[in-house]
Subunit: 415 residues, 2 copies
């Protein structure tokens, strides 16, 4: 019998308790030990819970109890989760988590502490909810050089974009609907501004390339400025707009890593990942493209990933799992302005069409103009060839100096 | 330094040698040991290979060399792979394989021998080529009850069906093209008759439900009788025809397991898995639907999965991996005639339409007739409600007794 503690009894935490208590037998079979919850940590009271006797408000109960071998940290946020995790690891307890913010900002340090104390720090649930992705990347793809990872990593924004694409709903209305359905929080900033997706691509990049990539070094753009006009132009181009977290290894060993909305071709595997679903594409030199698809969030999917990690810790109480990356600085990330890709631009201009076209060609080289039904007379949109970001920006500045109003700039993906 | 042997230098075997020799450093880092190939077993000569000095034609060299700790069996077929695998395991050597025929027919026995000799028998490459699926099912989904697995498990047949669906190519022409492109063998029986997909769904079912499911207990139907007319009717119904291997756990703990072509709705995740790609859907009670997608075959994808297993064996030379199922009889499989589902039927009849319609309704209950452009005047097709297979068969027999010619019978999936 192995005793575990669950820190946090919110959506995921209560799911962990539910999954552990409803699959006792099959979990014991797989872990080769029975797993029993000794403590549930929460500052709130849950007098009606069938597990009422296990609740504590005092973290010291958990950290000081030598019987507790594995702790599930499902509180979210950096504080106090960071301190609690660190102290548990220092005591040699293994910690599993769904807390992507903590892994993305403190992962290297916590993994190191785990290693030094012969414990495990596992976080399958931090990316893709119930979709197995951390293990497949670290184990099954061990015989590959991973060239690129690209994913739809945030269900909330994917739901909103799907509503905009399929039902011509405005961003504001789609966000409201997501909030009503419980897919988006009251303060949706972390989702719609891309921070959540950024944390996840940072975790995947760190794991894949062995060095911690911190969110602050990653160019991150959300979907709040996507207009229905852009959705229509994307369709006329032959694709859809998706919020993509992407990392590629470059020839100079630096990483091209970004989170931003992108035009994706309709026949790309990620173009059909809709609603609250996540899809993650891993491109290996041997395997080619492998795609993982499923619900990226939600109580039970995420909880089941946390429990799978608990089982793995119980199976490896003595032998450590190999899951490691070292600390690093911003030097592994190629500065965003130096990266290059094609871009879609929508603008409003009173200049006559021929003069404008010449101006655009002079600044951007050959471009492809897009058309859509019912476009205002003075609206133009076009797609450039591959251009360095700094040069894109210079060209855009030049247009603005000529009194042209830039309405949208969206990356064209190579997916 | 750990010494390994590769048995078989065909497509996959030469790929294993290539992957091992081209990723020496990253593999050593992940395995925490350098991995070196000591022997390559093949009855043919490869004088120009850079590994010419490692070739042997004598299996005894490998099995009797105590330095060899891990053996990759990539010969295919049951004999002599079965004997060779058994003898290696009995000597305490771990064996990894891409040989789905051997795992599907002898898995329970070989896993048992591995366990008794404190060795591992791993077969990630046997299903889905380079797509990680065996590990995710056995590990990440440990906290789930798996309700159902359904997959497009054979790339050759999926390529043929895709050509039929997208380019209106006949089965014969599509098969010829697959053979020219190297996707199908000269004798395509194992692929087009569904045997290959059957072996794979048996492996997934055995792993998931803990008891060996033998191919001979599984109702298996290939795609050789699918006509372009059926493809057109499937489109008018709102879907496509795919060869699906499927297993569901029933309330009485029996398994409903089959391989057959099915009508799949267009918006199903599996409907968009095209060409030589594989897609595997795993439905868990906690995770919901998770889909794994990628190239299900090919030299390097499959080889990289074999090498990932070699790495895992090297990491677990002392501690066994938990991957186990017990032997069983046909009693765990629900007899096919007792299972039930809706079905599509196409027929030719000279009887007047009203009489025929009444006859069909009397036999099948409410049905939905399908239409397609340019259908011959005496051709009819319809979709029934859910019906027990034995009753479907009785009704079909009754139609035939009335001089009606049955042209096609295809299952309607619930995917």
């Amino acid at each position: 019998m192995v005793q575990v503690a669950v820190m946090g009894h919110g959506v995921v935490g209560s799911g962990v308790v539910e999954v552990l208590s409803q699959h006792v037998e099959s979990i014991a079979k797989r872990a080769k030990e029975e797993i029993s919850i000794k403590y549930i940590l929460d500052i709130r009271d849950f007098p009606d819970s069938p597990f009422a006797d296990k609740f504590t408000k005092n973290f010291e109960d958990i950290v000081n109890d030598d019987e507790v071998k594995v702790v599930a940290e499902v509180m979210g946020g950096v504080n106090p989760a960071y301190e609690f995790t660190k102290r548990c690891l220092l005591k040699g307890k293994s910690v599993v988590t769904s807390n992507k913010e903590l892994v993305a900002t403190k992962g290297a340090e916590l993994i190191k502490i785990a290693k030094e104390n012969n414990a495990n720090y596992l976080f399958e649930a931090s990316v893709g909810g119930g979709i197995p992705i951390i293990r497949p990347i670290s184990q099954c793809l061990a015989a590959n050089d991973v060239i690129e990872i690209a994913g739809i990593l945030n269900g909330t924004t994917n739901f909103i974009l799907t509503k905009m694409i399929r039902e011509n709903m405005s961003f504001d209305d789609a966000l409201k609907m997501a909030q009503q359905l419980g897919y988006a929080e009251k303060d949706p900033t972390a989702d719609v501004e891309g921070h959540d997706a950024c944390r996840k691509i940072c975790i995947l990049a760190s794991l894949t390339y062995g060095k911690h990539v911190y969110p602050e070094f990653v160019h991150t753009k959300g979907i709040t400025k996507i207009a229905l006009e852009d959705v229509a132009y994307a369709a006329s181009w032959g694709g859809v707009i998706k919020l993509i977290g992407q990392v590629k290894k470059l020839d100079d060993d630096k990483l091209d890593i970004t989170v931003e909305p992108m035009f994706i071709e309709k026949n790309s595997q990620l173009a059909n990942v809709d609603d609250v679903f996540n899809g993650i594409l891993v491109r290996g030199d041997s395997t080619g493209d492998v795609v993982f698809y499923g619900k990226g969030a939600g109580k039970l999917p995420t909880a089941s990933a946390v429990v799978a990690d608990i089982i793995d810790c119980v199976k490896h109480l003595k032998a450590r799992k190999y899951l490691y990356w070292s600390d690093s600085t911003d030097s592994i990330v190629k500065p965003y302005e130096e990266t290059s890709y094609p871009v879609y631009i929508r603008l409003e201009s009173a200049i006559d069409k021929q003069t404008l076209t010449e101006k655009i060609k002079a600044l951007f080289g050959e471009v492809k103009f897009l058309a859509k039904a019912n476009a205002p007379e003075n609206e133009y949109s076009f797609v450039t060839g591959e251009m360095v970001v700094a040069e894109q920006q210079n060209a855009i500045d030049e247009l603005e100096k000529n009194g042209i109003k830039i309405l949208s700039v969206i990356r064209i993906s190579d997916l």
